[in-house]
Amino acid sequence: MINELMSILSHEPLAEDTYCLVLHGKMVHEIKEPGQFVHIRMDGFYLRRPVSISDYDPLNETITLIYKVMGDGTEALTKQNHSLEVLGPLGQGFPIDQIHANHALLIGGGVGVPPLYSLAKQLRRKGVSVTSILGFRSKEEAFLLEDFEALGDVHITTENGTLGRCGRVTDVLSEMAGNCDMYFTCGPTAMLKAVANDLPDTPGFLSMEERMGCGIGACFACVVPSKDEKGYKRICCDGPVFRAEEVVL
């Protein structure tokens, strides 16, 4: 974990209110696995903003983030074009080295999609087949579709029906479930819960979100109840990725 002033290589709109930000710096060499995140500091904001690492390239020393404007902080982020103070990489991602599967199902909702991208690439590299279900509010807000299509089957849902199936990711889940032997999901907690309920017998990993203070495990802001003796997990350092059976949603 380092705190680095990373330079901004590019910063472009990707979809409605959604931006793709490519950062350059040494931090990339510390990334262990897909699904880790960074904690971004900006002038005028007391707390940092957590954003998942969507992709990374150690050769070119770049980290790619994809984020959506949700409030003042992400709004201010869109105006950064030179450099950014970034703490990371943080947390435990998808344990790619320990994953043994033939066919993975990836389920992403909205800004839950980005961390799955680098995971999808690395699964493919391991020879795992990948099917993705990506849910968005509308066609305008959808992104990374072609990138995921290059890695396997993709099913799109939109809430307003402007692209793919009208509805939610869970609406297509049942149809896919049989084919896969492991699932990976990231999105709002309600979605994670629905997915985990729908796939009770498939081993799965969830990437969670919660409001954070420190981002490194010291403030206990980001806890989720867990099934072990300790009774809780800190999303920022024990997660954000958990085995589905570890946490109580």
């Binding site: 705190n3 007391y46 707390l47 919660e210 203070g213 009774g231």
Partner: protein, 310 residues
Amino acid sequence: MNLSIKLPGLSIKNPIMPASGCFAFGKEFSQCYDLSELGAVIMKAATKEKRFGNGTPRVAETASGMLNAIGLQNPGVESIIRDEIPFLKEKGVPIMANVAGRTVEEYVCVTERISPYVDAIELNISCPNVKEGGVQFGTHPQLAGEVIEQVVQVSHVPVYVKLSPNVTDIVEMAIAASQAGASGLSMINTLTGMKIDPKTRTPVIANGTGGLSGAAIKPISIRMIHQVYQAVDLPIIGMGGIESAEDVLEYLLAGASAVAIGSANFKNPFICKEVIDHLPKTLERYGFSSVEQAIGGVHHEKAGSHLLRS
């Protein structure tokens, strides 16, 4: 530049410590720098049994500050003694244990158990985020006096009382602590606040209210320390919004003998070390040749004495 300072139970090489609850038990921050660089570590609150704390969200951002309602989540005093203190001991940094409770008995019991393993106790009678115990002890001088007296009796090490700013008269509380046998004061805990999200029409913090910390509260803390320094003859550990060596100097001048840095650790996990590194130059720039010399400086200056100016 002499940064060292001697306080009851704490002979520390510099006056900088992380504030309770903002540093857990040090493990996370030991990835950032060597904890032995710190004056001392103030651990997260300990209660008798383990506590899960409040629901989430537990933090919210405010102008130049934040709200938190962690709810004293901690693994319980036995686990802290067994699993956490040895790590800090190994690092060779003085330790202050923050003690919380629902009842006088709990405060006494936790102090009895933990005090043999640490250098000082910070008695947390000021946590605004738990329904029982915590803050009501911190807002009534008589209740405060009772719990302090009993804790002091059983403690193996000096007891610092952590005062709540949510009171009409902070001096009255400080006097009660002093009379009950406290060896020092820790000032201040958070101010009770609330933030409402117009989208959901509910408070952002699941608990409803939370404790306000950060730069926003510094003027209130400085004022209270300034008041208490004049009224009570106890060393004060100052805190509230410290983010720089200049801030530390402001606290020393107001009357603090040492300081704790809380929320700023979340902005910048290297903050404690950076402030320690900048402190000598900062003291020098303003004409001080030691930390000691700056303590209470504003009171001396007011009295017309320019003795402190080198």
